[in-house]
């Protein structure tokens, strides 16, 4: 946590480009504890890269990211900032969990083991304790009858709910959701969103949600960011941003989205 504020994550002047394509352009963003931030914007606007730099899947070109009071990509040595090594990254990224668009469950493990593997081997929990809490989480996402199933036997919506339980089992302070319903058949979107609604209200953690589900964004977001070409174009409370967007770019995007 920041000393003065209760921010759990802060981006300071973070930039990232892939070749000529700028995906993060001097990004500044603070996330408060327990805050639910929804990020919307056109494809290729860099929304996902915000999450990926925070999960340490992409390295920013410049700027700093602070997680729970610690630099993520830097470590302080004698008052100087040096690039983080893998050990430092592991320490800081322990506060962050992520759910991916394409689930990425471990296909060689059953559902229960998908959820217990990291708590046992990364957090050092006993098998008994890890299975106990995994059963609770899987019960919460409505999959208590699928503990022994393998990912290949599950529907997309079920896979994604397992993936959510797997990330929750690590007790993150910040959860990242990267277009988690985009790969699902339309009739399976609802079951995943209803689990996420529950997380948004009942869990003590911040959520950063990249999504195209505008109704959901309005419902669970404490704050909505409209992101385009690597920059936050506009941000605000959901009702303000959706009903009364100030910037032309936001208006164009929302009217294009709401037309279909």
């Amino acid at each position: 946590m920041d000393a003065q504020t209760n921010n759990i994550v802060r981006f300071e002047n973070v930039s990232k480009a892939f070749g000529d394509l700028v995906v993060l352009d001097d990004l500044n963003l603070s996330v408060a504890q327990n805050e639910n931030i929804v990020i919307i914007g056109p494809s290729g606007s860099g929304k996902t890269t915000i999450l990926r730099t925070l999960m340490t899947l992409e390295k920013p070109d410049s700027g700093k990211i602070i997680v729970n009071g610690q630099y993520l990509w830097h470590r302080e040595v004698n008052g100087e900032l040096r690039p983080a090594n893998e050990r430092h990254l592991r320490k800081v990224r322990g506060d962050i969990g992520m759910v991916f668009q394409h689930f990425y469950l471990f296909p060689h493990m059953n559902v229960l083991r998908n959820v217990t593997e990291a708590p046992i081997h990364v957090l050092g929990q006993s098998r008994k304790a890890a299975e106990e809490s995994a059963r609770q989480l899987l019960d919460m996402v409505g999959l208590s009858t699928k503990l022994d199933a393998f990912p290949s036997q599950l529907s997309g919506g079920q896979k994604q709910r397992v993936a959510i339980a797997r990330a929750l089992a690590m007790r993150p302070k910040v959860m990242l959701f990267d277009e988690v319903t985009s790969a699902l058949d339309p009739e399976l979107v609802g079951e995943v969103l209803s689990v996420m609604r529950q997380l948004a209200t009942e869990f003590d953690m911040a959520m950063l949600i990249v999504t195209h589900e505008m109704g959901f964004a309005r419902e669970v977001g404490d704050r909505v960011l409209f992101f385009d070409k690597g920059r936050i174009i506009e941000s605000g409370k959901p009702n303000d941003l959706f009903d009364n967007p100030q910037r032309e770019r936001t208006q164009q995007f929302l009217s294009a989205i709401l037309q279909h």
């Binding site: 899947l57 990224r93 969990g97 992520m98 689930f103 990425y104 471990f106 593997e117 990364v122």
Partner: protein, 222 residues
């Protein structure tokens, strides 16, 4: 001079035990050689993936060199040249190591293909769940990469079984050299060489049928 039959069955039966002894040496050489090739091959595959060029470049050069020179040359280097520098190891052990090293360049390619076939998302999920590098390999990546490799590795096992005949060039008395020894001492080559061929076939053909079964089960790695 006595007119000999084209194929003397009594003679064949007489030399069979000696050839079976040779076959046993061949099987042992294949077994140990294969274990060595799997271990060194894994090391080569992982080292070539290293982001550190000081590791990946020299290992890559060594692998390409071994793969691009005949096994026989390597056997002679180990057998005739290394002892000059005080490196004395019995012929069997040398041969097993040399053939294992030679085939490790092929198994490393199988590993490489198998590892590359694991989707990128699996690496990202492993990172997001904060596994250590070692846990990532042993718990997430290799358990997915290895089963599809089994048929390809099995085919190299059979290839290696046949290639052990080359160990005869460095005095390892395996099946081929056993047959040649009988041939030169009895002045009859038809029976020992024919039998040796039959024995090679008797082991490798059922093995390749078995590998085909595995391919049906696990699919192909390449």
């Amino acid at each position: 001079m006595e007119q000999s039959a084209l194929f003397d069955w009594n003679f064949a039966l007489e030399i069979l035990p000696q050839l079976l002894e040779g076959l046993w040496v061949t099987i042992q050489a294949t077994f140990f050689g294969f274990i060595i090739s799997m271990a060194i091959g894994l090391f080569f595959a992982l080292a070539r993936r290293s982001e550190n060029l000081l590791i990946s470049a020299p290992i890559g050069a060594i692998v390409e060199f071994i793969k691009s020179t005949p096994l026989l040359v390597q056997l002679f280097i180990f057998f005739y040249i290394l002892p000059r520098y005080g490196f004395r190891v019995p012929a069997f052990q040398l041969g097993v190591f040399a053939i294992g090293l030679h085939f490790s360049t092929y198994t490393s390619e199988v590993y490489r293909a198998g590892i590359n076939a694991v989707p990128r998302g699996q690496w990202e999920a492993a990172r997001a769940l904060n596994f250590t590098a070692f846990q990532k390999w042993t718990r997430i990546i290799l358990p997915q990469a290895l089963p599809p490799m089994i048929p390809a590795l099995g085919n190299y096992l059979i290839a290696m079984f046949k290639e052990t005949a080359q160990l005869s060039a460095i005095t390892v008395v395996e099946l081929m050299l056993s047959a040649r020894i009988i041939g030169t001492s009895e002045f009859r080559f038809v029976e020992p060489i024919t039998l040796a061929g039959i024995l090679y076939f008797a082991v490798s053909y059922p093995s390749s049928l078995f590998i085909q079964q595995l391919e049906n089960r696990f699919g192909r790695a390449n």
